[in-house]
């Protein structure tokens, strides 16, 4: 899973720094215009490399941190079918993290460095995972809508210019389509179930509505743009465009099931643009800067996993024998 973030001041600084060899730069940009993919050994502007590392790394962190809220429901999933589906789903998310760390490593930053930057708070992950999954209905909302939002984002990014990232995203999108199917199935079951189930789902939906609007990042009006990143196909759509695509795809499906969304201003304009009430961007900023309901908990779990198992990784670093011949 993943969410878009706006171009921060730091990113803008990266983009506008180093001066590159104009000839190489022209050739690089011509390749991108022709629709070619850039591969790890190819020449690329320093700014391109740095921006991609940031993006892929954040995406990878989002996958493994995103595994946590759902992971806590594996032991509580209500039957064999849901339990097996949820374990497989969370496993996929961890696998996405692994794939993306590898893609980022091709640009010169190691997985260890990235994980350390996650723990130190230097490197971010999607804001949406700083909210709690309070009930089983949250799992339905996450599986259907958070994954749905992530797919909008990931499908767009898979058309980017960096080969390893695009290939990772293609595989990820393929797996995400199963998450969406399972999530939708779970969502529909609750929406069409008993009163207890419907109420549970409505409450979860009310709680997730804002984080979902926040998912794609601040409005284009309030975020810094970079023509260059668009031209280099590092960014391919604006936050507002992606948010609108998401609302267009999912709001009708939610309303169709007799559910409501906690926003009286929400409606689709004649121009196809969705209008919605102020989703409190100050809250978004608070949460992203570390003050959300679950930021500390999420990082604490990752920190435990890193520190408590250092002995395992150290012991495996220099194996005297790499593989044991299976005796079975």
């Amino acid at each position: 899973m993943y969410g878009n973030t706006s171009l921060t001041a730091e990113e803008a600084k990266i983009v506008n720094s180093t001066v590159e060899d104009p000839e190489k730069l022209a050739e690089f940009e011509a390749r991108i215009t022709r629709g070619e993919k850039i591969e790890p050994g190819d020449w690329m502007p320093d700014q391109y490399r740095k921006q991609l590392i940031r993006m892929i790394e954040q995406h990878a962190h989002s996958e493994i941190v995103g595994a946590l809220p759902e992971g806590t429901w594996i032991t509580r999933a209500p039957n064999f079918r849901r339990k097996l589906a949820l374990i497989a789903k969370v496993q996929d998310e961890v696998g996405h993290g692994q794939l993306l760390y590898s893609a980022a490593e091709t640009l010169g930053k190691t997985r260890e460095q990235m994980l350390m930057d996650l723990l130190s708070g230097k490197s971010k992950y999607s804001n949406v995972f700083n909210y709690p999954a309070n009930t089983w209905a949250d799992i339905a909302v996450i599986g259907f809508l958070v994954d749905g939002a992530a797919i909008v984002n990931q499908v767009i990014n898979s058309k980017g210019s960096y080969g390893p990232y695009c290939r990772a995203l293609e595989r990820i999108c393929y797996e995400e389509s199963f998450h969406l199917k399972q999530g939708h199935d779970n969502f529909v079951y609750l929406a069409t179930g008993t009163k207890v189930q419907r109420d549970m789902l409505q409450e979860a939906l009310n709680r997730w509505y804002r984080p979902l609007l926040h998912f794609f990042g601040p409005s284009d009006r309030d975020s810094q743009h970079s023509e260059k990143l668009m031209k280099w196909k590092v960014k391919l759509a604006s936050n507002d465009d992606m948010r609108n695509q998401f609302l267009d795809q999912y709001v009708p499906k939610i309303l169709e099931l007799g559910l409501t969304l906690p926003d009286p201003e929400l409606r689709r304009g004649d121009d196809g643009i969705w209008v919605f009430g102020d989703p409190d961007w100050d809250e978004f900023k608070r949460v992203i800067s570390g003050d959300g309901p679950c930021n500390a908990e999420r990082l604490e779990v990752r920190r435990y996993s890193e520190l408590a198992h250092r002995w395992v990784r150290e012991a495996l670093m220099n194996p005297k024998e790499k593989y044991v011949t299976p005796l079975a």
Partner: protein, 252 residues
Amino acid sequence: MNTEAIKDLLYRMADDALIIGHRNSEWTGIGPMLEEDLAFSSMSQDKIGHAQALYNILYTSFGEKNPDVLAFQRAEKDFRSCQLVELPIGEYDFSLVRHFLFDHAEALRYSLLEASSFAPIAGLARKVRGEIRYHVMHADTFFKQLSTGSEVAKARMQSALNYALPFALGIFEPSAYEEALIAEGIFAGEARLQELWLQKITPLVAAAGLQMPAMDTAKAVYGGRKGYHSEYLQPLLAEMTEVTSIDPSAEW
């Protein structure tokens, strides 16, 4: 055929698989490295799948309740799992040693069952052979790599082994049906399985540079097979059924 004997065997196996699968699934997202998260997660899916298949034999061959009811709505005292699988995941050393001890026993059990006179279980044993072989390979690889990887790791693995072994012997707690199972060619029996298991793991433990705890002093932790469980099973089951109990009349 002695139906009570077969049912007892199926419940032991199914409950073990469900509970160990449940425990291993707790590593999803918090393992020592991403690759191990993925491995434990995948093995837990296999185990839970095996549990479902075993409950399904109980359902279709003996008219017991359907697999979801058997797994999610049975009282603690009706479970036949051994106490080894109920213990919390603890630290990675314990989880890995448990995985090593349990999966070898399970692999040997299934390979004996491939020749069972009770066709459904012989069929299942053949079907899961590939998965189980992968689990054992994973256990052997990490058991050895960790035990020989550093002094710290070796000490941790040794003490995990010392702690887990008496519980592992509880896997082989004899049932009231041993003779019937053997006489009817359904299963070679727990005593035979334990013997094969010891033959199998003793050299592996030695090759990993660890000491096998002395068998005469190791006291097997029995009880699970008769419904006497550790303090950890009840909370595990409560957690497992938390959602369904919100509205038992609903379909989830």
